[in-house]
């Protein structure tokens, strides 16, 4: 199928807009972004499970239910209508299958209905690009930390190369699982990671926990198990455990970021992804940046968690390079790697 789209000159009179749909995990996010980088709206609705973690099918059901409402809200807040949109961007991967498919279906339907181009976006690239847009970072070493990903990367020869990443679970996942074990409950306005951070601030005693850095990669599963075991003994307070878990896990993240910075000789550190909102992690990276005469950039809170604006913006970058995704190539890519993406728009 060929997608028809209106030539650019017919739209010159008004601002071009990208609609971005983000559904890799528990968030259904929609953003409207102007081609000049102006973020017109960025709204989302998060799936909060009754108990336990994110069940992909349940989350997908939630997304399908709220889709229309969230999209409408994005238009209302931006004061725009469907007709104002020039391209539809969507998170094509990596992520949870049922969730991704729900977003992709909505995106395909909109693109086909409006007869405008569809752009499949890599979720990890989007976290980096929104960070660069919001902080004006030019060529950073990026630490991308979230519930599903933990990656240190930097741009080199056409792609964001992965210098280090987790060998097992993501840092956000590690914090979330521990929090649930400790009986903490998330609220829509307060993710589990934020709860752990809050409690960690009241912790005092540093409990010895395993520190596992392998080259520039790291492993959190052993750390999680050890922390859970100590929790079960009941010998230490949850506050002390949150504090110790954060200190050890973040020291590991900081160490590999510093290694990547020394290795690549770049002059900026960008912190992005959901866990970027953590102040203690920010503090550690800021110290490293200072030690290496580098600039420390952190993504603003509203763009730290999964969001539609980052997808919309990355869609624009790709589209302006002539990259569009024909419908027959718009299948979701559950394990799409960051370093598989030819980022031809960078420099």
């Amino acid at each position: 199928m060929v997608i028809g789209w209106r030539p650019l000159h017919e739209q010159d009179s008004k601002q071009q807009i990208s609609l971005g749909i983000e559904t890799t995990a528990d968030d259904f996010g929609v953003g409207l972004v102007g081609f000049d980088g102006e973020i017109l709206s960025n709204v989302f609705d998060v799936f909060v499970p009754e108990k336990g973690g994110i069940h992909p099918r349940e989350a997908a059901r939630h997304h399908a239910k709220v889709a229309q409402k969230v999209i409408s809200r994005a238009f209302d807040e931006a004061g725009k209508t469907l007709k104002d949109v020039s391209i539809i961007s969507f998170s094509q991967g990596p992520g949870l299958g049922p969730c991704l498919r729900t977003g992709a279906t909505a995106a395909r339907a909109l693109a086909a209905y409006l007869k405008i181009p569809l752009v499949g976006v890599n979720h990890c690239v989007a976290h980096i690009e929104i960070g660069k847009l919001a902080t004006d970072a030019q060529d950073p070493v990026t630490l991308y930390v979230s519930g599903g990903n933990t990656i240190v990367s930097a741009f080199d020869a056409g792609r964001y190369r992965v210098f280090g990443e987790t060998l097992d679970i993501a840092i956000g996942n590690c914090l979330d699982v521990f929090a649930r074990r400790a009986g903490l409950r998330r609220e829509p306005s307060l993710p589990l990671g934020a709860l752990v951070e809050k409690l960690a601030k009241q912790g005092k005693e540093l409990i010895e926990l395993p520190y596992s850095v392998k080259g520039m990669d790291l492993s959190f599963s052993g750390l999680l198990t050890a922390t859970e075991r100590i929790l079960e003994t009941g010998k230490f307070s949850v506050e002390d455990l949150c504090f110790s878990l954060q200190e050890v896990a973040f020291s590991m993240l900081a160490e590999i970021t510093e290694r990547a910075l020394a290795h690549t000789e770049k002059r900026e550190i960008l912190l992005t992804g959901g866990v970027a909102a953590n102040e203690r992690l920010q503090e550690m990276l800021a110290v490293i940046a200072q030690d290496h005469d580098s600039r420390f950039c952190v993504v603003p809170k509203q763009y730290a968690l999964d969001n539609g604006a980052m997808i919309a913006w990355t869609g624009i970058l790709a589209y302006l390079q002539g990259l569009i995704t024909p419908i027959e190539k718009s299948m979701v890519r559950l394990k799409w790697r960051l370093d598989d993406v030819e980022a031809s728009w960078v420099r």
Partner: protein
């Protein structure tokens, strides 16, 4: 004189007992808590010294250790003159690059055969000396173990180093390393470890489906 400021430690070229030596200092990191910092620095200083020595006993060239100072996390060791493999690899003609990588593979095999994993195999942690010897350095993240898993992580890191820093000839280089590795550890062990490397990649984060 500071010769290399690494992320984890700094190397100083000093005069000591009428010879030139390298002093490796693990400087305190302000970003982490003092207690975490001391634990990591002390542990790695002891550990690295032990492993550098074990590796030498296993026939793998490493700098000789002269003195260890745990109070300041310092190691005084032999000054090895040469160039990082990282900086020579891309200037070599294909055949020499192949030969060098096979040789590196043999050294890794030699380590593993003697229950040592390096823990941070990159081309910056290998020095090609003027006499053509490859000297392995930086054992701070190493371990004494014969676990297949950790051996595989070791090789996985080597592969990753090629992919991120030498991406133009990454596959060719890793294949050559594996060839040398098999020569030393033998077909059976080699295959077990290589299968594990593939398994690690398949754990989800290292493979794309199409």
């Amino acid at each position: 004189m500071l010769v290399k400021k690494g992320a984890e430690a700094s190397l100083f070229l000093e005069d000591w007992q009428e010879r030139q030596v390298i002093m490796k200092r693990r400087l305190p990191k302000k970003y982490r808590l003092l207690k975490v910092d001391e634990r990591i620095r002390t542990y790695r200083t002891i550990h690295e010294s032990q492993l550098l020595h074990s590796a030498k006993e296993a026939g793998v060239p490493t700098p000789t250790i002269f003195l260890i100072n745990l109070t300041d996390s310092n190691i005084i060791m032999e000054y090895v003159q040469g160039t990082e493999v990282k900086r020579v690899l891309h200037n070599l003609p294909t055949e020499s690059r192949y030969a060098l990588n096979v040789h590196i593979g043999k050294l890794i095999g030699q380590l593993h055969k003697n229950r040592i994993v390096h823990g941070d195999l990159t081309t910056s942690n290998m020095i090609l000396t003027t006499s053509g010897e490859v000297v392995l350095i930086d054992f701070g993240l190493g371990e004494k173990t014969s676990q297949v898993e950790l051996r595989a992580v070791d090789l996985h890191l080597m592969k990753r180093a090629f992919q991120s820093t030498h991406f133009l000839y990454a596959k060719e280089s890793f294949d050559a390393v594996m060839k040398g590795y098999f020569m030393v550890v033998g077909e059976e062990t080699g295959k077990k470890v290589l299968d594990k490397v593939i398994e690690i990649e398949k754990r989800g984060r290292y493979i794309s489906e199409r």
